[in-house]
């Protein structure tokens, strides 16, 4: 599900500009499948699939495949259009050091949206 993530984010000059101060690694878990996304100056430099022995990342977004698929649906589904909609439904968990995430929230929402099917999103 994350095959296109780096290419889409790095091709979006506006999104990269929004995240120009972001230098971090974060984890996306789809069911039990972990992926670590490394970001430098707003560009994704690697998406590394697990499993990991000693994963090193600042924060993690964990949800079921079903929840991610609804979030990334090309046709938006009311109640499943944003990561905080999933958090409110307790379908997505955000954990770890949230400071890089919250201080660049519009950027990370744009990154997460880029993993889904193309549609209009707020980033």
């Amino acid at each position: 599900m994350l095959d296109q993530l780096a290419a889409r984010v790095n091709a979006d000059a506006n999104l990269v500009r929004r995240g120009r101060h972001v230098n971090t690694s974060f984890l996306i878990a789809i069911d039990a499948a972990d992926h670590i996304v490394r970001i430098e100056h707003g560009r994704i430099v690697s998406v590394t699939p697990g499993p990991f022995i000693t994963p090193n990342y600042a924060f993690a977004l964990r949800a079921s495949r079903e929840a991610w698929e609804k979030l990334w649906s090309p046709t938006p589904i009311p109640g499943y259009t944003d990561i905080f909609a999933l958090v409110k439904k307790k379908l997505l968990r955000i954990e770890g050091d949230l400071h890089p995430f919250m201080s660049n929230l519009l950027y990370f929402k744009g990154v997460i949206a880029a993993a889904g099917q193309p549609r209009k999103e707020a980033a």
């Binding site: 938006p76 259009t81 905080f84 409110k88 201080s103 929230l105 707020a122």
Partner: protein, 287 residues
């Protein structure tokens, strides 16, 4: 494009509010039945510019929008630097009544969105006789916190950026980019801690779920309009309010939590029949 002025007029109103001198920014346009509009948490009256500029609305309604203290072009009261801003149900109700009285409005229609959509339920509960009709946009009886609101006010996170980031998903994914980003811009311009202070009312103090059965839409016509993409004030919450109060509820397609600013044209299409029903006096309670 030739230069032009909009019909809305903005002025500063000096009044005593909650026992203190205040300076509030007020915009209005149109004539007829007063329609007092309440903006969302952490934003300001600019959200209603679509209404202020729509002749279909202003030909029969005097649309009045004020920035709450701390918001938009209204000032906080003198001495604000020595207190933490926290909106309460009691103060919010008093503020609306005192502004309405200061403007000498005769039984206005009151319409509010989000926190405004919640406080109008309090008005319907406590003061139904003071209003011709009440319109709640994105109304729900309560919203449990679903993120740590302390992120909204700390010096190492930009308050405007994080506030816009929090609410960005509440705009319908189908909204036009211009409406979406203007809505977010208002959040980006909010003062430090103001959105968080408003959420004290929204998520803690303003829970009205225990009093819903005491609201009777026959005492004052109550209309509820909620966007299908709103996951903060959910459509289920709105329909529960309607079921327990006799309000008329409409779920609006292709709209989210900020209908009047994210997509004014689409929203006004839903609002006009409500305004016409109120004007004609043919209100039918109960959905």
């Amino acid at each position: 494009m030739s230069a032009r002025f909009e019909p809305a007029i903005g002025r500063y109103l000096h009044l005593d509010l909650l026992g203190k001198p205040h300076r509030l920014y007020v915009e209005e346009a149109g004539s007829g039945i007063p329609l007092l509009c309440l903006h969302t948490a952490g934003s300001d009256g600019r959200q209603y510019r679509g209404l202020l500029n729509d002749a279909r609305v202003t030909k029969n309604y005097r649309v009045i929008v004020f920035d709450m203290p701390w918001h938009g072009k209204s000032s906080p009261p003198a001495g604000w630097e020595n207190e933490e801003y926290r909106l309460t149900s009691r103060d919010y109700v008093r503020m609306i009544l005192e502004v309405s009285a200061a403007l000498e409005l005769d039984k206005p229609v009151v319409m509010g969105c989000s926190i405004g959509g919640r406080i109008v339920l309090h008005l319907a509960h406590e003061h139904p006789e003071k209003f011709r009709a009440i319109i709640g946009l994105e109304s729900s009886p309560k919203v449990d916190p679903y993120y740590d609101v302390s992120w909204l006010h700390r010096p190492d996170v930009h308050g405007g950026e994080v506030s816009a980031g929090i609410v960005s998903g509440l705009v319908a994914p189908t909204a036009p980019d211009e409406g979406r980003w203007e809505t977010l811009w208002h959040y980006m311009q909010s003062g430090p801690g103001v959105f968080k202070g408003d959420l004290h009312f929204y998520m803690i103090d303003g829970d009205i779920s225990g009093k819903l059965d005491e609201i009777d839409a026959r005492r004052c016509p109550l209309y509820l309009l909620t966007g299908e993409y709103d996951y903060s004030c959910t459509t289920e919450g709105t329909l529960e309010v309607a079921r327990r109060t006799g309000a008329k509820a409409v779920i609006m397609k292709d709209l989210g939590h900020f209908p009047m600013s994210e997509n004014p044209e689409k929203f006004i299409g839903y609002l006009l029949p409500v305004l016409e029903e109120i004007r004609s006096g043919r209100q039918a309670s109960a959905a």
